[in-house]
Amino acid sequence: MAVRVQEADFDLSAEVCALSASRTDIGAIVTFTGTVRGTAHGSPIASMSLEHYPGMTEAELGRVEAEAHRRWPLEASLIVHRVGTLAPGDNIVLVVTASAHRHAAFEAAEFLMDYLKTRAPFWKKETDASGVGHWVDAREADTTAEARWQINAPSKAAE
């Protein structure tokens, strides 16, 4: 179990190796990588900047991760989220889940992403080709995605 917030990029193989090296109790590893898309509402974007709430971010990601371990038999997990200024195609977020069996790994990874999207205090601002910044609106679909897990929220208060 680990969470990291960083400006630097991450390497998928290196992260998965660090998590699973010399272990033979893991049979299934799922990774999710979120990347910066090149367009927003049909218009090209020049860059995306990510702001967060230091302290709360790590606390919230830790709570979400602990909840995933409570619900699924995970052998290991990792959440890495980048902050700062990113370009189209750049990595934003990495979630890794490892379990003896694939369904636990798949479900836990999707759960982590759904909760991260609605609870972790990050905010995206897209800058368009003319240099104008636009804060990204929260998607209703993300709230719906979180709701389908139907649990007591991992942190102490509901929205």
């Binding site: 991260l116 601002k125 929260a138």
Partner: protein, 91 residues
């Protein structure tokens, strides 16, 4: 005891709430009678037009007390920091 008895409370603002208030954080001494997050928002709005503008769409503003998500009706009693921000958009 409420947060108001002379103890400074740290307020943080993120994303467009930060841009509209013109500050990332500040330490305030909250008067007596301000007991919930909603009370605090009402009090902040009265401090000037930039706060009025920042909290105009108060239905979309989220709050955290001591780094945990809370509702507008949650108490701020004993809190060290309160943060205000739009719905999160990470991931």
């Amino acid at each position: 005891m409420t947060a108001g008895h002379g103890t400074p409370l740290k307020i943080l603002y993120f994303a467009w709430v930060r841009e509209k208030t013109g500050r990332a954080s500040e330490d305030v001494v909250v008067p007596q009678g301000i007991e919930t997050v909603g009370d605090l928002v009402a009090w902040l709005k009265a401090r000037g037009p930039e706060f009025e503008a920042a909290f105009a769409r108060s239905d979309v503003i989220r709050a955290a007390v001591d780094q945990t998500h809370v509702k507008p009706t949650s108490l701020i009693t004993g809190a060290r920091e309160v943060a205000f921000f739009p719905p999160v958009t990470g991931g």
